[in-house]
Symmetry: C2
């Protein structure tokens, strides 16, 4: 299987510079003061470069929400019990969660994936309500040893790629990532610390809202996980295996798949951007297919965005995950696509240009 992974990684090409330039030239002719639609123009340019057209389409939208559990929760790193992961998956299936509501407003479908929830979700998978790519019943406690094997890490990445392949065959033209997993800010901070070289204390935040004391404990648990596992920052699969999570690997795979199939991908908050860091480390050009949805309130997220060189579209003090920020940002992305697809130029609209 892993040969498929490395074939996809090798197949990721940069976004078309020529189509980006064509798009910029065209956008400069729209009947507006030049540049006055700000970030929408930058997104329109990116979409044109990704899809190699002046009429990019982002009509068929999917949020892929990846769920997994984490052995590290036994160290007391989260405010919520692990049972909440499968409970929230059930809530996603019922349509009662934030991601359902926000995706509906965005006109997006939510695809929920069991990447490794520590509960039996096979009934939901059989009913077609979730996809099952379950690797194990949660990762192992990374403070005691590797979170998963290298083979499991590769499988997590390949799962995301495979899911995107299926969605692309269905005609999906805009993807977004999301996550669910009690404790998953902990491996996300660990991945950020390892890949960026920043101290754990700087990149670790309160997640769902833990106390000062619990935060100290969380930082120590991450430091211990890194000390014990010694993940190799030059080998992203090793980092995922030693201090990552199944759903984080799945998200990285979704992003790699999006880049491979030339579909723009809206990256949600802290956990999704940890996946984006792994994707970029595996395939540097994949970053050109990413759109950063928002800046999360989770403290370390700013450093992730900085690492990737991405400017987030929204800053709404969100810190939920599930793909909620990405769903909100999809509307902005669609707006940008419509700007280049439908607006008239000065000439076509019969509007005079600037005189001075």
């Amino acid at each position: 299987m892993s040969s498929d992974l490395y074939r996809v990684i090798a197949g990721i090409k940069p976004v078309s510079v020529e189509w980006r330039r064509k798009a910029k030239d065209y956008l400069d002719q729209l009947a507006i003061p030049r540049g006055s639609l700000g970030d929408l123009l930058a997104i329109a340019e990116q979409l044109s470069g990704v899809q190699e057209t002046l009429k990019p389409s982002v009509k068929r939208k999917v949020v892929v929400t990846m769920a997994g559990d984490h052995g590290i929760v036994s160290e007391g790193v989260s405010a919520f019990p692990q049972e909440v992961t499968p409970q929230m998956v059930s809530n996603f299936v019922r349509g009662g969660a934030a991601i359902n509501v926000l995706a509906e407003v965005a006109g997006a479908r939510v695809v929920v994936v069991d990447m490794g929830v520590a509960a039996d979700l096979s009934a939901l998978a059989r009913e077609g309500k979730i996809l099952s790519y379950k690797i194990d019943q949660g990762t192992r406690n990374m403070a005691m040893g590797p979170a998963m094997t290298r083979e499991q890490a590769e499988r997590a990445l390949e799962s995301g790629i495979e899911i995107v392949g299926g969605l692309v065959r269905e005609g999906v033209d805009l993807l977004a990532t999301g996550d669910m997993g009690i404790g998953n800010t902990t491996p996300s901070s660990a991945i950020l610390a390892v890949l960026s070289g920043r101290p754990v204390g700087q990149v670790t935040g309160r997640g769902t809202g833990i106390s000062d004391q619990a935060l100290e404990n969380k930082i120590r648990a991450i430091e211990k996980a890194i000390d014990i596992n010694l993940p190799d920052p030059k080998d992203p699969v090793d980092v995922l295996a030693r201090v990552g999570g199944f759903e984080i690997g799945g998200i990285a795979g979704v992003i790699l798949g999006a880049a491979y199939y030339r579909v723009p991908v809206v990256v949600d908050g802290f956990i999704s951007t940890a996946g984006a860091l792994l994707a970029r480390a595996l395939a540097p050009d994949s970053v050109q297919y990413m759109i950063a949805a928002h800046r999360s309130l989770e403290y370390g997220h700013q450093f992730m965005l900085e690492e990737l060189g991405l400017k987030p579209l929204l800053n709404l003090n969100l810190r939920l995950g599930e793909g909620t920020g990405a769903a909100l940002a999809m509307n902005i992305v669609e707006s940008a696509a419509q700007v280049i697809c439908k607006m008239l130029t000065f000439q076509d609209a019969g509007v005079d240009g600037p005189g001075i």
Copy 2:
């Protein structure tokens, strides 16, 4: 007519504190880490307070785009010729402008109003493609005397209120403001300077993109207008008459109407927020019905938002007007409404709460 204006102003009541509190209590029970949906929760609370319900509706959306011309353009304050105002109105009617495209994505209708364009738009009004509340063929040059009479200023305000009254009877439950008028950052800066007491040089920007020299000239023109007219900052109608614009008065009227009829109103960028400053000065409680769409790149906008105590939802480096930022923000507002209307609580979803 003006008795109607002052009746409406007197009829504006604060947003319900009780319903805001009920909304907050309910939102705290949703199956998410408390507060983790950030600004969406604040908007949901506001919508509940405005509409006095836990199921606020923002389904029928209208952007009111007010157009007018400005005598001050003869001082060379804009990069574009005045003819662009009616040309852009034609573009709005054809559906080729940014506001058409963005409103469509938001699911909003655009209502274009001729408040005082210096061109004959009566054919468009007869065909029902725009509303005509034309007060005059543009304002007079405020660097030479008052932009309009006090009666005209009152008519501009009443026009906006009347338009909202009609829309509310049609069932509209979310309003947004927009503007079109070559030269209209100039009166907007003047209004900000007068109402805030800030120096003209601090609150005046490049509008559609003028040179350093043209900016110096624009600042001098505004200073001259204020020196000659001596608008009374304690009398907002006087400020509008002396250094305002017809479409700015119309926008202020839309906001007053929204507050009177208890409809939330999304305020666009620099020109719309100048209208919002006038509305707040006339009816302090009207600010509770406003939602600041975005922070414009036009330099003075930050001071307007500061004056009003409003936090903008978006920061996308927009500086176009037309209602474009407001249209983009409408989707966030609808998302907030759906959060309180449709999400499940911990109890209903069978999800455990935080354990530590």
